[in-house]
Each structure stands twice: as C-alpha cells, then as structure tokens.
C-alpha cells in the first residue's frame, strides 16, 4: 500500500514540477535581460544575445539539421571572435522540431515565444513551418525560415522570409534554359512527390514553363516512398519521352535515374534535377552515374568569396564531403542578423521589445544589398532576390553554372 502511495506521489509531483518548470521557463530565459535600467538609450540591455533556432534535429532530416546548425555555429564562432554583435557575445539555442512532427514543432515554437525573442531562426523544413509559423505570425515575431520554402514563407509575410527565391520564376526559367541548351528535347516526363507541397508547387511551375516553350509534359508521375523504383522507371519509358524532370526526394531521384539508365537512357543530359538535389545522399548514391545531367539551384557552389572558401574547406574537413546548399543558410542568417542589429542599434530591452520586433521586420523585408557567403543578395518588400543557376554535373560536383536569374549584380 505504501509503495502505491509513493508511486502516486511521485507521479503527481513530476506532473506538478513539469507544469511549474514550463510556466517558469518564461522567467528563466528572461534572465538574459539586465534587471537594471539601461545606461544609454541605445546601448544593449543584454549581456548575451540568445537566438532560438527551430530545427529538425531528429528523424529522417536530422543530418541536414546538423549541417545547418553547423553552419550557424561557424558564424557564431567567427562573430564572437570578432567581438560579438554590438560588443555583446552571441549564443544560439536549438529547439528540435522533429521530422514531420507538427505537434512537436508547435510546442517548441510556443517554448521559443515564451523566451520573448526579438526574432526567430526557423522553423526550417516546410512541414514544421506549415504547422507552427502561425504562432509567431500572431505574436508578431519575425521568422528567418531560411530553408523552409518560398511558398510557405509567402503565406506568413511580412513576418517570415526564406533564402529560397521566387520558385515560380526560377522553376520556369531554369527549365526553359535547359531546353534552350538541349533543343532536341521535345517531351518530358516529370517525377513529382505529392506529399511535399513546395516541391509539388515548383513542379507545376516548371511544367508550365516547359509547356510555354512548346515542350510536351507527357505525365507527372507521383513518387512516394518505396523499396524499388523500377516500376516507375518502366512506366515513364512507356511514354517514350525525350527528357526527365525530377521533383522528388534525393534518394528516389537517383534510384529512378539508375533504373532509367539500365533500361537504355544513355545520355545524362536528358535529366533535370530540381534544387532539392545535391544533398550528400544524392552524391553518395549517384556517385559516378550522373555526369552530364543538369540541376538547377539557387546555391552558388562556385562562389569565390573568401568567406565561402573558408567555410567550404572547414566543412570538407568536418564532414568528409562536398558542402551542399543547406550549409551556408544559417551562416548567412546569422551575419544578416548581425548587420540588422548593428544598423538598427537593437538593444534587446524588455520595454522596447514590441517596437524592436517591428523595426527588425521592416529592416529584414527590405535589404538593399548584402554580401552572403556565396552571393550578393537583395530583399525587396519581403521578397528575397537572388540568382538561380543551371548547373551541369561533372565529376560528382556542380560545374559550369549558367545564370538564369534576375536582379543580380
């Protein structure tokens, strides 16, 4: 009997403690703000800038989460070594949103909002962003979603932005550029993953773009998770298309290509991959099979800037592989935040929180020109502008970029 009472007590206590701790999290994190009134009106009130990053750190996307966080930490180390932001050191807290776990994403976002953030990094990943962006939107906190998706972030403007440009224009133009280079391609089959809204939307744009230049889209084949993709490959071939456009997850893209190659598609120039390709698994699975294929991307792997060379070298050292488009995203975000805070003289004082949040939002939605690690970018009325490239794959690397973009110096 006593044992039972004990167990019940423990359970009830745990519950109470968890409630109290959750309720208390507000106070805990506000510790970053100094209690005393600021000396000068625009001096920072904090002894440390804490940025919250909502990131998929578990589940299938965990490896990419790790890479993005790695990039962010590199930036933080560099910034802190150079004296921090406005003389105050920087720290980031990562909140795991899981892969395809809306309930977790929402609760973590709520946790972040309780810390009264000036702005939020993330949510990354379109499922997370779809689930939890509404919360920050309601609170009026700016979200640097960086990798989620153009179409999701667009729905939460002006309180969200993403480092993926207007995919409608890019999907159209890059596809047309491909046809321009390979004029004998008159008909294509598209492989599309229907669960992912962004990829689905982009594939629609690309399809429209191709149709506009007289290319026939024979079928949009739905790709779902499967053990073996050869049935899809055979199905595509039954249309006898000239080209193949891939809008699905990297593993499926490569596996479908391998099946097509086995079945007699000899020329890799007939393949066009969308910008979601180019991940480590894409290269690992496709090693040696992809030479000559095309991929469009907004990632400038050929960037010559010193910053990028340094970052890329460090990445090769740490990860034993070529850097991909996820690597510089939050590295860049961090530097943009630094510039924003310095330009606006953000203080982080409690009493100015609302006003500073709005100031940050206004600033972030109109950035005239800013040097990202890989390129020079621009944000006009909340719309991120950067070039897009059509690459040829050569030696398991993206080579020979053709600029299909606009608004680029």
């Amino acid at each position: 009997m006593k044992k039972c009472m004990l167990v019940i007590m423990v359970i009830v206590m745990t519950f109470c403690i968890s409630l109290v701790a959750l309720a208390g999290s507000e106070k805990e994190t506000s510790g970053t703000a100094k209690e005393a009134a600021p000396v000068a009106s625009d001096e920072p009130c904090v002894d440390e800038w804490v940025f919250s990053n909502l990131m998929f750190m578990t589940g299938g996307w965990a490896p990419y989460g790790e890479m993005i966080v790695w990039g962010m930490n590199e930036a933080i180390d560099e910034i802190n070594a150079a004296g921090g932001i406005r003389g105050v050191p920087v720290r980031a807290e990562v909140y795991d949103t899981g892969t395809h776990q809306p309930e977790l994403a929402v609760t973590q976002m709520a946790k972040v909002l309780d810390t009264k953030p000036l702005l939020i990094m993330g949510p990354h990943g379109s499922t997370d962003a779809e689930a939890c962006s509404q919360l920050a939107y309601d609170e009026g906190v700016y979200m640097l979603q960086s990798t989620s998706s153009y179409d999701v972030a667009k729905k939460f403007r002006p309180w969200a932005n993403v480092w993926l440009t207007n995919t409608e224009q890019f999907a159209k133009t890059t596809g047309q550029k491909w046809i321009e280079r390979e004029p004998d391609i008159k008909s294509v089959v598209m492989f599309v993953q229907p669960e992912a809204s962004t990829w689905y939307e982009q594939s629609k744009h690309q399809s429209n773009g191709l149709k506009a230049v007289g290319v026939k889209v024979l079928e949009e084949i739905a790709v779902t998770e499967a053990v073996d993709f050869s049935p899809l490959a055979v199905r595509a071939l039954s249309h006898k298309p000239d080209g193949f456009v891939m809008y699905c997850y990297p593993e499926a893209m490569v596996k479908i290509v391998l099946e097509l190659q086995k079945r007699g598609v000899k020329e890799n120039r007939r393949f066009l991959f969308f910008h979601g390709a180019g991940t480590p698994e894409f290269w690992a699975l496709g090693k040696g099979y992809l030479d000559g294929a095309y991929q469009w991307s907004i990632f400038n792997s050929q960037a010559k800037s010193q910053k990028w060379q340094k970052l890329a070298d460090k990445f090769r050292e740490d990860f034993d592989g070529e850097p991909n488009w996820t690597v510089p995203t939050d590295y860049d975000s961090m530097y943009l935040i630094k510039k924003c805070f310095e330009d606006l003289k953000i203080t982080g004082c409690r009493d100015k929180l609302k006003e500073e949040r709005v100031k940050i939002q206004k600033y972030m939605n109109n950035v005239d020109s800013f040097e990202f690690a890989t390129m020079n970018i621009k944000i006009v009325d909340g719309e991120y502008k950067a070039p897009a490239f059509l690459y040829t794959i050569k030696g398991d690397k993206l080579e020979n970029p053709i600029n299909c973009g606009f608004e680029w110096k």
Binding site: M1, K2, C4, M5, V7, I8, I11, T14, F15, S18, L19, A21, L22, A23, S25, E26, M57, T58, G59, E93, V94, Y95, D96, G98, H100, Q101, P102, E103, V106, T107, Q108, A110, K111, L113, D114, T127, E130, A131, C132, S133, Q134, L135, E139, D151, K155, P194, E195, A196, S197, Y200, E201
Partner: protein, 288 residues
C-alpha cells in the same frame, strides 16, 4: 499564462482523447489506427465549416463528431471480426487513403493546406471540459453492462461468445466511438494549430500515443491520463542535447515497461491497492 504551457496543455488534452480512442478499442482486443484518420476528417470538417461557412464552434464540433462517426462506421462494419494485428495493418490503409483524398481536394487546400482557421475562445477550458465529459462517459461505460462485456472479451474471446456477448457489434460500436473521439481531437487540433496539411495526420503521431498508452497501462483508462502529460512533457523540459534522444528514450521505456510491468505502470491492481489504502487512511484518521 505562458504560451508554451497553453499549447502543452491543449496538446495533452488532444493526446489523452486520442489515447482513449485507441484504448477503448484495445479493451476489445484490437489495435485500431482509425482515430488518426478520423482526426483528419474531424479537423477538416470543423475547419471548413468555421472558416468558409462561418459556423459557430459547437455546431461545427457536432458536425465533425458526426463525420467521424460515419467515417469510422463503414470500415468498422468490415473490421468487427478482424483479429487484433490485422486491424492494425488494415486501418493504416485508412490513414493513407485519407491523406491521399485530402491531397486531391482542392477546396480544402489540397497539398498546400488549409490556412487561417479561426480559433474558438477559451480553447483550454473547452478542451478540458471535453476531456472531462469524455472521461466521465468512458468511466460510466466501463462500469456498465458493455464495460463488463469488454472486460470478458479482453480476457478471452471464446468465453465471451459462450456468454452470448455479440463481439462483432461490440467491436463495431467501440470503433465508431473511437472515430468520434478522433474527430473531437481533430477539431481541437484544428482550433489549436489553425493550419491543416494532410501530412500532419500520419503514423508518426500514432507511435507517440502507443507509447503513452502502453507505458501508462492499457488495462485502465487512467494510464493514458497520467502518462500522456509526463511522457509528452519531459522531453520539453530536458536540455536540448538530451531531448534529442527522446525517440530512443521512448523506445527504451516501451521495452522496459513491457518486460517489467507487462500491464503498464498503472494496472487495475495498483488502482485497487490505492483505493484500499486511501480508505484505510481515512478510517484510521476517524478512529484517532
């Protein structure tokens, strides 16, 4: 009230409802996944009615419950006799089918999702009023004739048949009830998150709820109630470096609980012991 506490508590309520939905069918010896699919149905019905047709919350809730009931009734007719595991796999089909259908419904947002759903006032109170009502209903149900029938079926199906319990219709009605619970959970989810995307209603959520139920105890309705907040809450409190391992922790908890306490932490016997000791405590006090 901190925002995170609000979301944590409402989600806890939603998970308790879902846990009960799975629990109530499992009392009949079958593991049913329909509540997740019914959740999607309920969420979308409520969302559409409140956003597009400007219905108030209560009628929308009732409509969603009706939708959930109809939705789960049809497969239940076929699955009434299915052995436990067969039902698990068969009802996974319901999740895939629901997702696919929703993706192809343009007026519900399709792949892109259904955005900006209005939220009912005092959602937290509404949630817990619903949880309380449902809980009371299940409490009464378990002490009714049906509840005793469920008990017999859970222990031995063949004995149940000799006692002239119609296991088929029992299973059907429990599945419909589970579907209604799922739909209610969906309505709360829609009101809480205010964005619905077909992908949200997937198997992942289910695994968590299995974990809450089996660790908490599947022989009483209280296992879910006690362990949902604990298991759902603790990863949110842990430092991020540890919380990242929450899946592994859940897995370990499942294995360890099943091996050491096969009925889950809270078993019928434990409740009985508590009841006795509480009674004794009061009696002793009166004496002294």
């Amino acid at each position: 009230m901190p925002i995170s506490l609000f979301y944590f508590l409402v989600f806890t309520g939603i998970f308790i409802l879902l846990g009960w939905a799975i629990y109530i069918v499992y009392r009949n010896g079958q593991l049913n996944n329909v509540p997740i699919a019914a959740m999607a149905v309920g969420a979308y019905i409520c969302a559409y009615l409140t956003r597009e047709l400007h219905w108030p919350f209560l009628p929308a809730l009732l409509a969603a419950m009706g939708g959930g009931a109809v939705f789960s009734f049809v497969p239940a007719l076929g699955l009434g006799r299915a052995p436990g595991f067969s039902m698990t796999i068969a009802t996974i089909a319901m999740i895939f089918i629901t997702q696919t259908v929703l993706r192809n419904m343009a007026f519900l947002g399709g792949v892109y999702g259904f955005y900006s759903i209005p939220r009912v006032d005092h959602l937290l109170i509404v949630t817990y009023v619903i949880v309380f009502i449902v809980g009371f209903f299940i409490f009464r149900l378990e002490r009714s004739r049906i509840g005793r029938a469920m008990e017999v079926v859970f222990i031995d199906t063949s004995v149940a048949r000799t006692l002239k319990i119609n296991t088929y219709w029992l299973s059907v009605w429990l599945q419909v009830f589970a579907g209604v619970l799922g739909a209610i959970a969906g309505v709360l989810f829609a009101n809480l998150v205010r964005i619905l995307v077909p992908r949200h209603f997937s198997l992942g959520m289910l695994l968590n709820i299995y974990c809450f139920m089996f660790v908490g105890g599947y022989t009483t309705m209280w296992g879910v109630v006690v362990f949902t907040p604990i298991l759902w809450g603790f990863p949110l409190l842990l430092p991020e470096a540890v919380a990242e391992w929450k899946d592994t922790i859940y897995g370990l908890l499942l294995v360890v609980t099943m091996l050491l306490r096969p009925e889950g932490v809270i078993s019928k016997k434990m409740l009985w012991d508590i009841k006795v000791s509480v009674k004794r405590f009061f009696i002793n006090r009166r004496k002294s």
